[in-house]
């Protein structure tokens, strides 16, 4: 395929502005997917994605239209995956910017516009949902103008009804530049996604930047320094269709008997052994997990099933790590590393759904560096593993530079939130007349509590958050222990700032009191720093719990009610004589001071 007949593009949109519907219409109009094969939304594969309305893994599809090859790359849309987004954008020359005609441009869209501009992408604005009664095209055009985008370039469409989609395709061909492609240079192909399945091994999604790649050739992954022989190259139609050769400018896939996504990571550059590229493509990062938490089977006998499940999951997720861990309270489990909270939730949900496991997941933690009085420095990703207070000389914790974009109306409340989260103000600049960018230095540990949720609620969803690691800084931190029925529950320990330890302890105890079900006896709950009790509450004893009347003799209904009650108890983790539900282990995530 000649490079000047290729167009590589992605779609940028706020959730619900119609990205998937537009993608579906494009696939339909170009007969890429027949109607009857069309699932509700053609590109989002996983159930999880469809339910959450988000794209977690990038997807690609090649569309043949009017003699051109249009490669559409779908991108993930959450801060946890911002690196993957940047690699997907790096594989494109242009982007469709989809805006809901009734909603207008929203916060996240603006952030994505900047990301696209940083990658020098040609942006084609598409005002979608013009069929809605509340559509206000003039307002959206004004908003575009305010953000430096020529409103006359905007296309009008209703992806739902199929209007304007033809014009969108024409614009992709006319306005997005063809890839600059030197086929005679050494091969450089960008891995923008990497998936594993048990039949074919790793399937790398690639964009060939220079050179060409054929079956049988010997390749080198420049970052992982692994060599393979290519079994198959091909394109997504969207099913995988083998081709003899992928040339500069093309998007497709590669299979080379790679057994683990770790050897073929997103952002890596593929070159040929026969004529190696001197420099890899820019932008590769070795993504490391930032957030750690313990995963335990609710039923201890599921330990081995969980281990197998984690191994399988890891094959397909280079950013996810795990190792054995033992908790006095929870028994045998695993310490798992994630990119962020969403990543953690996704892994948890996949384990529960795909492997039918009931899990207890402990509150996420960052990696602390603790220097002991002996002078030894240890990296600790589990609060339970912290040394005793008197053995600690210093503690450092990872800091990030948080960048927040938000409408100026919310400056006050967002700044307050950042201060509460131990943020140190750095900078405030105006992006345009009514939007500001705030920069804060903050402990990473604060970001992985429910900072993101609170940020969304305090800005009515308009604020966006991105963050970059800044390295480690010393903090006055202590371990806050929780004692249930006088027993320390290691899995409930959290690391907090000394100044707020008592307040957080009181708040946490108060919420645990309502979460942990009442027992036949009074259960004391305590928060402690070392041997010092800082908060105490009692869970009152159960006094009465007995089903009442059985009119008309519907006995089986009674039995089922009781079975349900019993089933609920099974989902809890028994610690000593007390049943602790999953919510208790993540209660620390929700700070009581949120309104």
């Amino acid at each position: 395929m000649l490079a000047d007949k290729i167009r590589n593009f992605c779609i940028i949109a706020h959730i619900d502005h119609g990205k998937s519907t537009l993608a579906d219409r494009i696939l339909e109009i170009t007969h890429t997917i027949e109607d009857r094969k069309m699932q509700e939304q053609g590109l989002d594969n996983m159930d999880l994605e469809r339910e959450r309305g988000i794209t977690i893994k990038a997807q690609a599809v090649s569309i043949d239209h009017k003699g051109y090859r249009l490669n559409l790359i779908d991108t993930p849309g959450h801060v946890d995956f911002s690196y993957e987004v940047s690699r997907s954008l790096a594989a494109c020359e242009g982007a469709l910017l989809v805006i809901d005609a009734a909603q207008g441009i929203e916060a996240q869209t603006v952030a994505n516009i900047y990301l696209a501009l940083e990658h020098d992408l040609e942006i084609i604005p598409v005002i979608n949902k013009i069929d809605l009664p509340a559509a206000d095209i003039i307002r959206v055009k004004e908003q575009l103008l305010e953000r430096g985008i020529d409103p006359d370039e905007a296309l009008l469409a209703s992806a739902k009804e199929g209007t304007g989609v033809e014009e969108v395709l024409d614009a992709v061909i006319d306005r997005i530049p063809a890839p600059e492609a030197q086929s005679d240079e050494p091969l450089k192909a960008l891995v923008f996604d990497s998936l594993y399945n048990s039949y074919q091994g790793v399937i790398a999604h690639i964009r060939v930047m220079t050179g060409s790649l054929s079956r049988g050739e010997e390749i080198l992954l420049m970052a992982s320094e692994k060599k393979y022989e290519v079994d198959e190259v091909g394109i997504f139609t969207p099913d995988m269709k083998p081709v003899s050769c992928l040339e500069a400018g093309e998007v497709g896939y590669l299979m080379a008997g790679i057994k683990n996504v770790r050897n073929c990571k997103v952002g890596d550059t593929i070159t040929k052994m026969s004529s190696r590229a001197v420099q890899p493509l820019p932008g590769y990062k070795d993504v490391k997990p930032m957030v750690f938490s313990g995963l335990y089977p609710t039923d201890n006998s599921d330990y081995e099933i969980l281990q197998e499940a984690l191994e399988k999951l890891q094959l397909n997720d280079a950013a996810f790590t795990f190792e054995n861990e033992t908790s006095a309270a929870l028994g045998f489990g695993f310490r798992c590393g994630f990119l962020g909270l969403l990543h953690m939730e996704i892994v948890q949900e996949r384990l529960e759904r795909e492997f039918d496991l009931e899990l207890v997941i402990t509150a996420p933690s960052v990696v602390y560096r603790v220097t002991t009085t002996e002078g030894e420095t240890r990296e600790i990703d589990n609060p339970a593993a912290f040394p005793e207070v008197n053995e600690i000389e210093t503690i450092t914790e990872p800091y990030v530079e948080a960048t927040l974009n938000l409408p100026e109306d919310y400056i006050g409340s967002v700044m307050e939130l950042c201060e509460q989260s131990r943020g140190k103000f750095q900078d405030m600049t105006y992006i345009d007349q009514d939007r500001v960018r705030l920069k804060y230095e903050m402990p990473m540990s604060e970001i992985i509590t429910d900072f993101f949720n609170q940020l969304k609620s305090k800005s009515r969803g308009y604020a966006t958050l991105d963050y970059e690691p800044l390295g480690y800084r010393e903090s006055n931190l202590v371990k806050l222990d929780i004692l249930v029925n006088k027993e320390r529950v290691d899995a409930l320990s959290v690391i907090v700032h000394r100044d707020r330890a008592e307040e957080i302890g009181r708040d946490l105890i108060n919420r645990l009191k309502d979460i942990i079900p009442r027992k036949m006896f009074t259960v004391p709950l305590q928060a402690a720093i070392g041997s010092n009790i800082v908060a105490r509450e009692n869970i009152k004893a159960r006094k009465k719990d007995v089903l009442q009347k059985c009119y008309g003799g519907d006995v089986s209904r009674k039995r089922k009610l009781l079975e349900k009650q019993k089933e609920g108890k099974k989902r809890m983790k028994q610690v000593g004589d007390v049943d602790i539900p999953q919510e208790a282990f993540t209660a620390v995530l929700e700070r009581g001071d949120s309104d």
Binding site: R518, M520, K540, R542, K543, K544, D545, V546, L547, Q548, K549, C550, Y551, G552, G553, D554, V555, S556, K558, R559, L562, E563, Q565, K566, K569
Partner: protein
């Protein structure tokens, strides 16, 4: 001349080791109410004269159609609902007549009518019911405080409740009074005040139920929205314990978790459920049990009334219980009775000893102080009575 003679229900004492299951209890679900109570999840509709007539025909039809399945002598007939006291004595008598013609009757069966106090405002009404052979009334008083009745959405008033109690108390007629406790915001004393007043009428039988929030009832919705004060488990427990004490002081026997009776006046009909005896239920949503299989009629009056020439029966679902389910239900019913269950009865029913099936569970529950044993009887302790669900769940 009525088929069922006007006769007082005589006291009945039983102290058997093996329950006689060669008897049958009949339940008739009358699915009409003037207004729906805010807590009630039972099936009912506002009565229209034509619908009621149509329903009565269909009910007679069902009684006749299914009579062949039930050969055992009928020891109790129970009109429940809904509000069966809405029906005229003639209509009730018609149903009794169909039963008499199609079922084997034991001598002197208990015949109960559930009554809304609003329907019993004159001696003549009671007289009418006695004429057709009814010998027991279950009066849905629920509370003697108007604000509580309002909260419950009851259609009767406190003064109507007092009037109906006065009418009943003047006769020798056997009746039960239903009371509901543990209302949102209710203190134990509020409930005990209701109870104290009821005791002045000295009914032979008292049922004290705590309010159970059934999903999708108006009351449960209001609770969920936080529009009503909390239901306090502590107050409920305190009120219940005092209820037990006060009633026992007045010679009432606490014989089932929620039921109290003067000696000889336990509710024979409800005993069928607890003693794991067969019963047949007729009308929409009514349940039946033939010792192997449970049947539930579909909870829809429209479906019940729909004539289907190909299917003369009424729409229903059946489920055959496996041995495990049967045993679990046997225990969770039997242990509701304060006298408990008898090992010999279990053995005669399941041809397996209780120890073979549940020795570990029973030992554990005894250890925890929920169950006790005496001779062949196994029964709930005081603690077990308060926390019965813990016990029942152990057998599931």
């Amino acid at each position: 001349m009525s088929i069922f003679p006007r006769k007082l229900l005589r006291p009945c004492w039983s102290a058997v080791t093996v329950i006689d299951r060669n008897q049958l209890a009949l339940y008739l679900h009358i699915p009409f109410c003037r207004q729906k109570c805010s807590y009630c999840a039972f099936y009912s509709k506002i009565p229209e004269p034509d619908t009621v007539r149509h329903f009565l025909n269909r009910l007679s039809g069902e009684l006749k159609f299914r009579a062949g399945d039930w050969q055992k002598p009928v020891t109790s007939i129970y009109f429940g609902g809904g509000t069966p006291s809405l029906l005229s004595p003639a209509a009730l008598e018609k149903i009794l007549q169909v039963i008499e013609e199609n079922y084997r009757l034991a001598p002197d069966p208990e015949i109960t009518l559930e009554v809304n106090p609003g329907d019993l405002q004159s001696e003549a009404v009671l007289e009418g019911w006695q004429e057709i052979g009814l010998n027991r009334i279950s009066l849905g008083v629920q509370s003697l405080q108007q604000d509580e009745l309002n909260l419950l959405g009851r259609s009767h008033s406190v003064s109507q409740a007092r009037r109906s109690l006065t009418i009943l108390a003047k006769t020798e007629f056997i009746y039960n009074v239903d009371l509901i406790s543990a209302l949102p915001g209710q203190q134990a004393e509020d409930h005990l005040q209701n109870l104290a007043e009821i005791l002045q009428y000295r009914p032979r039988h008292i049922s004290c139920y705590n309010l159970q929030l059934e999903p999708e009832t108006p009351l449960a919705d209001r609770m969920k929205k936080g529009l009503l004060p909390e239901i306090s488990e502590d107050e409920d427990a305190r009120g219940y314990q005092q209820t037990r004490q006060q009633l026992e002081k007045k010679s009432y026997q606490h014989y089932e978790i929620s039921n109290f009776a003067l000696p000889g006046f336990k509710c024979r009909h409800n005993l069928a459920y607890w003693e794991f005896r067969p019963y047949a239920g007729f009308g929409p949503a009514a349940c039946s049990f033939n010792l192997r299989e449970r049947r539930k009629n579909r909870a829809s009056l429209r479906d019940y009334l729909a004539d289907s020439p190909r299917q003369p029966g009424v729409p229903h679902e059946k489920s055959r219980l496996d041995q495990q389910e049967l045993k679990a239900e046997y225990l969770l019913m039997g242990l509701r009775l304060l006298q408990g269950i008898d090992r010999r009865d279990f053995h005669s029913f399941f041809h397996q000893s209780l120890a073979d099936c549940y020795s570990r569970e029973i030992a554990g529950l005894k250890e925890e102080g929920f169950l006790a044993e005496s001779g062949n009887k196994i029964f709930l302790t005081d603690q077990g009575i308060m926390l019965g669900n813990q016990v029942f769940q152990a057998f599931l």
